[in-house]
Amino acid sequence: MSNPYLPYPVRIERITIENDARDLKTFELSFVEPDHAAAFEHVPGQFAELSVLGTGECPIGIASSPTDGDRVSFTVKKTGVVSDELHRAREGRVLGVRGPLGNGFPLERMRSKNLVIVGGGFAFTTLRALIRYVLHDDHRSDFGDVTVVYGARTPGELLYKDELDAWQDRDDLSAHITIDAAADGWEGHVGFVPTVLDEVAPSPKDAILVVCGPPAMVKFTLPVAAQLGFAPADTLLSLEMRMKCGIGKCGRCNIGHKYVCTDGPVFTLEELSALPAEF
């Protein structure tokens, strides 16, 4: 078994600035060693530990789908020491990636179901990976109706703007993009994500709900979901925790006896209700 602490070397191929505030960037990375690309087979919802050698690591959700070829993408917010350094990096720089880590979304049980995907802010990244996977020609017919509700504070804060536009033109998914308050030139929804979810009111029948967002958004979305009839066992959340090893050894990311890095980051609401409220 290979050393789980040793990162794969990856090269920054492309950097996309995602938002007006310029503190969210998507890094598209290629594996320096070809067999690492093959070994890095991930499932949407998984994350990886991104290394800036000599500065540190940070756990970031994988923003690309396994169907996106050999490259892998991460959308990183400039928050702390490592992400600061990452934001200073230029194309061509070599970083490290350890992963894929975590459990990812439970695709097996999601197949043949309708999917309701609700995200907010920059937590949308792994949801984007999921949507790209589901929409791919090889998989689209495996899943039922796909409804997406995604919101940000302002239009400038929305991630993956080109893709969001492209989704509007598709008839195999129903995408509802919203911003908090009206803005010039914006013709989409206006309102907080929970409110828009309530308005769209997708049916819970044969559906799996996926929620990922800042704590405040999640807090107000869950009651709406419950009212719409989504069962806790069919509601998936992706959690964040301070992490270091990412492989369930260093002991810090636990909620009760579950480690967010190995037993998660995806949990059903039912699973979380059985755990201590310490996250």
Binding site: L6, S83, I247, C250, T262
Partner: protein
């Protein structure tokens, strides 16, 4: 679930050996030629495990050390990766053959627990494994408990051999040494001066251990660890943690505490990634970059420590992550006593829910 461990079953007389103390010293000194021998030696805090060249410095009469010997497989500081010009290489340890002599049964059992933490769920830690593979553990049974010992309440015993390759018992003039594993047998077979033990000597060793077990105070430990979670929201934690300073002394002294941090260091083109012991006692342990902290108070952090040992351990490694060595009790500057905490929790749960 933890099974209560009885004293070790008697080995057949031909397996157990008797080694005089002089022969033992000679043997350890000889081993030190081509092995690293880690043994308890004098220290201002009583005794400490240290690599020893001169076996005459080894202390058999100590109760237990203030720090556990877990550093033999899980050192406090370990370089995992070396960085040079943007390339990371693993720096796996290549330890010499090592003999850990004189670890108490609680500490040997803790090593076995650490094995299960670091090699589980299909993910193996190669650094810990490299050290463990080259380690022979000669545990030393206890004939007198320390002031804070409670191993028998958590499934241990003064002569438990879990995690050991050889279990030694001090009979006064000589040691009874029983092989537990093939590695232990190989070591004993090569030991000059070792002779087969007689049945009477084996019995004498068992009697000593049984007598020691009698003296160890009993502590109520929940038989159903999940019940501890009933007390999760109880106000009892504020009471228990009132004096807790939130330092890391208990976690660093503890033989089963395994939490660690990963830090990068760099200086102009070179650098390293270092693993270091970390502690759930500090707020920084779980602090998010956003400023949110799932465990914002000492109450919550002390609760985590206790539940990690007694409620989560049984879920992750099928065993309570506590061997009853009592170091946390001895070392705590505020006099917080895990035995009292367990008794309080026992009362809290038995009383029918959070109190």
């Amino acid at each position: 679930m933890t099974e209560k461990k009885e004293g070790t079953k008697p080995e057949t007389p031909m397996d157990a050996r008797i080694v005089s103390k002089e022969d033992l010293i000679a043997a350890l000194t000889a081993l030190a030629q081509d092995h690293t021998v880690i043994a308890p030696v004098d220290d201002r805090t009583g005794a400490v495990f240290a690599p020893t060249q001169d076996a005459a410095a080894v202390r058999l009469e100590y109760r237990n050390t203030s720090l556990s010997p877990k550093a033999a497989v899980f050192p406090q500081i370990e370089t995992l990766l070396a960085f040079q010009d943007g390339v990371a290489t693993e720096t796996l340890p290549e330890p010499p053959e090592t003999v850990l002599f004189g670890a108490r049964p609680c500490d040997a059992r803790a090593l076995a627990m650490l094995d299960r933490v670091f090699q589980r769920d299909g993910i193996d830690d190669p650094y810990v494994a490299a050290r463990r593979d080259r380690l022979t553990v000669i545990a030393l049974a206890c004939d007198e408990p320390g002031p804070a010992c409670f191993c028998t309440s958590v499934g241990g015993a003064p002569d438990d051999h879990t995690g050991a390759d050889v279990l030694a018992t001090d009979l006064g003039e000589a040691l009874l040494m029983r092989p537990v594993t093939e590695r232990g047998e190989a070591l004993l077979a090569a030991l000059d001066g070792a002779r087969p033990a007689e049945a009477g000597e084996i019995e004498a060793a068992q009697e000593r251990s049984a007598a020691a077990a009698e003296k160890i105070g009993r502590v109520p430990v929940p038989s159903e660890p999940a019940r501890l979670l009933e007390a999760f929201d109880s106000e009892i934690w504020a009471e228990i943690a009132a004096g807790c300073l939130g330092c890391g002394a208990c976690t660093y002294a503890c033989p089963t505490c395994h939490c660690f941090d990963l830090t990068d260091e760099h200086k102009r083109g070179t650098g390293r990634r270092v693993r270091s012991w970390d502690t759930c006692a500090l707020p920084l342990f779980t602090l998010h970059a956003s400023g949110h902290n799932p465990r914002p108070s000492t109450d919550a952090r002390l609760r985590q420590r206790v539940l990690h040992k007694f409620a989560y351990g049984p879920e992750t490694i099928d065993e309570m992550l506590c061997v009853g060595c009592g170091r946390c009790v001895s070392v705590c500057p505020s006099g917080i006593d895990l035995r009292r905490i367990l008794a309080r929790l026992d009362g809290c749960i038995a009383g029918g829910g959070p109190g």
